[in-house]
Amino acid sequence: MKSLKALNERVKAARAETEARGETFYKGPSANHLAMFPPKERWDDWVELDSKAWPARKERRFVLAPTTCFNCEAACGLLAYVDRDTLQVRKFEGNPEHPGSRGRNCAKGPATLNQITDPDRILHPLKRAGERGGGRWQRVSWDEALDDIAGRIRTAIVEDRRNEVMYHVGRPGEDGFTERVLAAWGVDGHNSHTNVCSSSARAGYQFWMGLDRPSPDHAEAKVILLISSHLEAGHYFNPHAQRIMDGKNAGAKLVVFDVRLSNTATHADHWLAPQPGSEPAILLAIASHLLRTGRYNRDFVRKWWNWQEFMAAERPQLPATFEAFEGELRTIYAEYTFDLAARESGVDAKVIAEVADLVAGAGTRLSTHNWRSAAAGNLGGWQVARCLFFLNVLTGAVASEGGVFPNAWNKWVGKPIYTPPHPPKWNRLTWPEEFPLAMNEMSFLLPHLMDDQQAHLEVYFTRVYNPVWTNPNGFSWIEMFRDPKKIGLHVALTPTWSETAFFADYILPMGHSSERHDIHSYETGDAQWVAFRQPVMRAVQERLGKTITDTRQVNPGEVWEENELWIELSWRIDPDGSLGIRTFFESQKQPGTKLGVDEYYAFIFENSIPGLPEKAKAEGLTPLQYMRRYGAFEIAKKTGPFHETPVPPEELQDVRVDAIGRAYTKAAKPAAKNIVPIPTPAADADGRRLVGVEVDGTVRRGFPTPSGRLEVYSRTLVDWGWAELALPTYIRSHVHPEKLERDQMPLISTFRLPTQIHTRGGNAKWLDELSHTNPLWIHPRDAKRLGIAKTGDLVRVETEIGHFVVKAWITEGIRPGVVACSHHMGRWRPEAAGAGAATGSPHGDSAVAQVGQRQVMQTVRLANQGGKWDLRRTAPVSAYTSSDPDTARIWWKDVGVHQNLTFPVHPDPVSGMHCWHQAVRVRKAEPGDRYGDISADTKRSVEVYRKWLELTRSAYTHSPDGTRRPYWLLRPLKPGHDAFKLPDRSQPVRR
C-alpha cells in the first residue's frame, strides 16, 4: 500500500505538469465553484452523452462558443454547444466566464435554441407585395432591398431632408454602434423605446447625480430596498437577482414595494403593497425620520450635496451654513410623517416605521433599485426614483460598498475605430419643444406628433421593435403605418414576425443572439466588464480553420447581422464618398475598402479595453481571438467612490473655483478609452470646463451635474419652469384615489413575467409553453363587489378610449382596490396576414411557410370605422405540422389579451415618460363579449393626448436661455449648440 505522502506527491506532480500546460487540474468545485461547467481548455472538444440515445452511451462532441443573450437587456453570457459533426447548435447554457451573469441564466437564455430553430422565423428579405398590412409578401434579394433603401436615404440627405430618416429601436443590446451610424449620416433620427420603459426612473436619478442609471451593490448590502419585482424580472435582473441572494445569504434584509405578491415579494423580509403612486410619500416619510432622528450621514451630506446652491437661491435671508441648511431640510420634510405616508399608501404606519429603522441602520450599505414599476406607471413617477435615491444620499450609501453607484462607474464603453460628429440638425419629431426635460425621445407620441407637425418620414426603420404591440394606442400606429403620406418606406429589421412587421414595406431578417455581433457593458455590480455577442458559427468555423468574411455565410437562410448591414447600407448611400459618410465605414488597414467587423472589434479590443491585450497574450491569443473564445472580460473590480478621486494636477490649469465650489479648468480634457456617455455641464464664461468640485480644500471629481455635486435642489428644474419640483417631492399620481371616479380602479399593466420578455421571446416554444396568458388579477373583495363569481369568468375592463375582455383571476395576492394584468401577452396576426404565405423568389425557393408566428399569435379580425377599431379573435393558437415536431404538440390555445391597444398616451410633462397605469372600470362581460375582444377609439385617444399636453411647460414659454433643452442632459445623439436654439415660431419649421 502506497503511503499517503507518496500519493500526495503523485497528485502534486500531476497537477504541476497539467498547470504547466496552462490547463486547469482541479476542474470541479475543489478549485472552482462552477462545477457544472466544462473547463475552458476543453471548449474546443467537449464530449457529452447524447440524451436522446439513452440507454445507449452515444458520445457527441461539441465546440463551445460564447455569445450573449439578446432577449433582455441583461445580455447574460451564453455558451453555444455546437455539434462538431453537424455544425448545428444543440443547446445553450451559461457562460461561466461572464462576470455579470457568472454562468447562470434565466429561462430565456437557453430558449434561444427555440428562436434560432423556429420554423416560422423569417430567413430571407421580404418585400410587401400588396397594400400595407395586406399580408402578401415577395422574397427579394438583399441587393434589391438595400439599393432601394439606400437610394431613398441618399436622396433625403442630399435634399436636406435628413430628419425624414428615423431609426426606432427596442432594447438596443449594444453600446452605441447604431448611434454612430446615424451620426455618420448626419441624421438626428435615433428614436428609442425608452419613454415607454425607463425614462421616468432615469429622470429621477439624473436630476440627482447626473447619470441616469443606478448600479446597486446588492451583494454587499445590509438592507436592499426594491421598488420593483426585480428578483424575477427587469433590467439586469438575473445578475442582480444573484447578488440580491448573495446579500440575503450574508444577512441582508430585503424590503420590497410591490402592489402584487410577486415572486420577489415572497422573498422579502418586509413586503409593502402601497396604493399605486404613493411610493414617494413612504420614501419621504423615511427620509423625514432620518432627518428628525439625526440618523443620516452628516459628513457625506455636507461634502456632496449642493446645499450651498439651495441656500443661496432659496434661503438668501439665512446664514449660508450647513447647520442652517439641515434645519431647513428638517422643516421642509416635517410634514412627511409616518401617518401621512400611511394615509396616502394604505400601508400601516408601524410597518413604515420598521422599514425606516432598517434603512437608518443600514448606514452606507443601503442598496436600492427602481427602474420601471412605480416610476413607469404614474404621473410624476420620476419622483419615485428621486425619492428612493434620496435615502441613499442621506445615508451616504452612494458609491460605497453595499450602496448604489452611478452606472457609468460600473460600465466600460471602449472607444471605437471612428467617432463621427453628432448631427447638425434637431429632430422635433423625437424631441418636441413641449417636453424640454424629456429624458429620451418622445417615441410613443410619434403618430400624434406626425399629425401635429404634418410630418413625413421617408425611411422609417423599426429595429427589433414592435410599437404596434408594445406602445399604448397601437391602432394609431397602424393608421400611421398605412398612410403613405406619413411613412414613405417602413423597414422592419426583425428576426421574427411581429404586429409591426405586418405593416412594413420590407422585412429584413436579423440574427438572434447567436447570429449577430454586439459589444456591451452593464452595471451588474461594483465592477467594470465588457462582453461580446457574436455569431457562434462564425467563431466555430474560424476555430476550425475557415475564413468568414460575411456573417450570412454561416447564419441560417439569409439572416444577417446588423453591423455588417449598416456598413453595407452606408456604402450604398455614399458609394463614392462624396457625402462624407463612407469614410466612417472604411478599413484603416486597407484604405478604400469596406470596414469589416473583425477589424472594427479588433480595434476596440486592442486599444480600448485595459488589460485585455495582456490577458490575451498570456494565452497566445489576439484580443479579438480571446473575446471570440471566452466572450467576456472583466476590466476592474471594486471601482470605488470615483467622485472622491482628486483631480490630477495636469488637469488643473488656470483653475477658477466659484462660490459653490465648482472648479473650472483651462486644461483640455484628456483622451479617454472609456467613452461611456457622461453629461456635459456647461463651461464657465471664459470657456473653462467643469473639472470637479472643491471639497475641504481639494478639487475632486464629483458628479457630472451642473453643480458638480449631488443635487437635492435641481437648478435645472427651477430654470425650466418646475420650481415646485426642484426638491424631492411627492406628486399625486393620475390614478390617485382623489382623481378617480367612484367606480374606477387603477390597472397595473406593466409587470413582467419571469419567462417572457415583451414580444422578443415570442418565438421560443419553451417560453410560450410556460407563459402564454395574462388574466386580470383581482382581489376577492373587489370580485365580490363587482359580482365576479369565480376565476376564469370574463370581465370587461374599460379604459379612457375603449375596453378589453379578459378572464378574471381572483387572488389575495393583490392589493384590494387595484387590478393588474401582465405584459407580454395577447400576440396576434391579422386574418389577412394569416391567410397569405410569402411567395418565393423567381428561382422557385420558398420564403416562409406562413406569415406570422403560429406558436403564440392568435388570428384576429381587425375592423375600423372612422377611428373606432375592433379586434376580435377568429382562431386561437393550435397545433400544426412543421419541421419541428413539437409544433404538433402545442396544447395551449389561449395566448392572452393585448390590453395596450386600449391605452391612450399619458406623457409625463417633465420626464416625458408614458405613465402606464390606467384608471379603469371593471365589470362583468356583456352578452356578446368574447374573450380577447378589444375596442378602442383613436379619435378619443387624440383628446386624451391633448389633455396631457396641457400639463406641459413648453420650451417656448419656459426656456431660460432660448434653447430647446438643457444642454448638459444626456441625449443619445447630441446636435451642436446651434441646433439647441429654439427656432423662431413665426417662421415655418423646416424639418
Partner: protein, 286 residues
Amino acid sequence: MIDLFRALAAVVEAEGPERERMARLLELPPASDDAARTELFDMHLYPRAAVYLGPEGMLGGEALDRIAGFWRAAGLEPPTEPDHLGALLTAYAALAEREEAAEGARRALATQARSALLWEHLASWLPVYLAAVDRLGAEHDRAWARLLGRALIAEAERSPGAALSAHLVAAPGLADPREEGGAKFLASLLAPARAGFILTRIDLARGAAKMGLGLRQGERRYALESLFGQDGPRTLRWLRDEARAAGKRHERLPGAYGAVRDHWRTRAEASAALLASAALAGSREG
C-alpha cells in the same frame, strides 16, 4: 497532504472522465458504474455533513448554517453546498495551503482554523460515514473511503482534538416513543447524530427481509412506519440489534478519534438500551 485531500474531494464531487483521472492518480480501482454510484451517494449515503450532524438528519438546517458560518469566519466564500464533503475537503486543503504560506500569528490562526474544521465538521461524522460507505459501497467507493479514512486519521493524530464538536454536543439523544410520541421517535431514528447510527434504505431492506416483513416503497420514514405497523415489537428489537452492532463498530474506530469515537459509541449504546426497553414494554403490552 494538500493535493491528496483535493484529489479525494474531486473523486466524490466530479463525474465521468474527471473522476476516473483522479481515481487513477490515487491508485483506486476503476469507478463503479454511474447508476450504482448515484444510488450510493444520492439515495443512501448523501455526502453532506448536515445529514449526519444535524438533529433533523436532513439536508440543511442549523448544522448547515453552522458550517456556512465556519466558512465565513475562516474568510472563505461558502459555496452553494458548504457542507458537501467535496467542498469541506477542499476547504481543508485551502486552509492547509494558507497555513503553509503564513508565518507567525497568521500561521497560528490558520492552524487553529484547520484544526477547527477537522474536528468540528469533518472528523465529527466521517469515521461513521466512511464506515458505512465501506459497508455498502462498490469496490471503488470502498477504496476511496478507506484512503480518506487513512488520511483523516493521519490528520487527527497530527492535530489531536480538544473538545467534542458543537454539533454533537447539541444533538439530543433518541426520542423515547413513550414520552415524545411516535412521530418524533421515528424522526430521531433517522438522524444519525441522535440515534448514534446510520440507517439507510439498504439497512431497512435487510431488516425487513430478516424479520419477514414487507418493505414499502417510499422514503425511509414511510418504510419504517410501515415496518412498525406490521410488527412493532419485532422492529424495535431489530433496531436494538442494529444499534448494538453500531456501538461495537464504533468501539473499533481508531483511538485517534478520541472523544468523537466515545460519543458515537455511547450514543449508539444509549439508543440500544432505549430500544430494548421500548421493545420490552411493547411486548408486555402486546
